[in-house]
Subunit: 109 residues, 2 copies
Amino acid sequence: MGSKQLTEMLKGTLEGIVLAILATRPAYGYEITARLRDQGFTDIVEGTVYAVLVRVEQRGLVDVEKVPSEKGPPRKVYALNAEGRTVLAEFWRNWEFLVARIDTLHEES
Amino acid sequence: MGSKQLTEMLKGTLEGIVLAILATRPAYGYEITARLRDQGFTDIVEGTVYAVLVRVEQRGLVDVEKVPSEKGPPRKVYALNAEGRTVLAEFWRNWEFLVARIDTLHEES
DNA sequence: GGTCGGTATTCAGTGTTGCCAAGTACCGGT
DNA sequence: ACCGGTACTTGGCAACACTGAATACCGACC
């Protein structure tokens, strides 16, 4: 069970994390969840990832394509588009800003 | 806040930030807001800081003392206690975990 | 004496977000 | 026919930062 603290930290970063994953190559929800788990986010909830994908699609940050799967229902493959890349770049800027400020605080204590 | 992204990122980190400030020395709300502004969080909202302080007080992470001010109404001075230090340590662990994961993603893109 | 600005705290309401829990759907192997 | 793995959807909930306004205390200035 992930700590409540970490859950709250994910608010605002999870979207960026998903966009960053899509930046390397297109992917579908189930795959993204699995990759997050491999990557260390062992407690990430599937429903949450899908919710993020719905959101970024509605905001027009990704292009979507339905691709038949051999192992189950069709996959919705998400690909980062130009708008998405812009938002991702903004995410990195904000993230680095936050990390810098918090690092300063950490050193002071 | 400047960007909505940064606002969302603060969720889950602002509490840790405030605790980190209190770890250096006791402080009151107005002062903490000012320090955050000096430190780069130029758009931080006063009401938000007070809300965090109410929360950490209710959770018993701080000791509170009312101190008269020469320039206005009495100040509520917050001091981090043992429980607060524990939570702050947990915050740093979670923060470093998140930074590590996200750094990995950043390098991959 | 009355107003203005700086200090200092509180509070109701809003929107966004991740989690929980359950459900739907497709498929291969037994 | 059933079960487990794959794959997506959805309604309700709690936590959090922001908005905007209100309250209160004080010194300085006209």
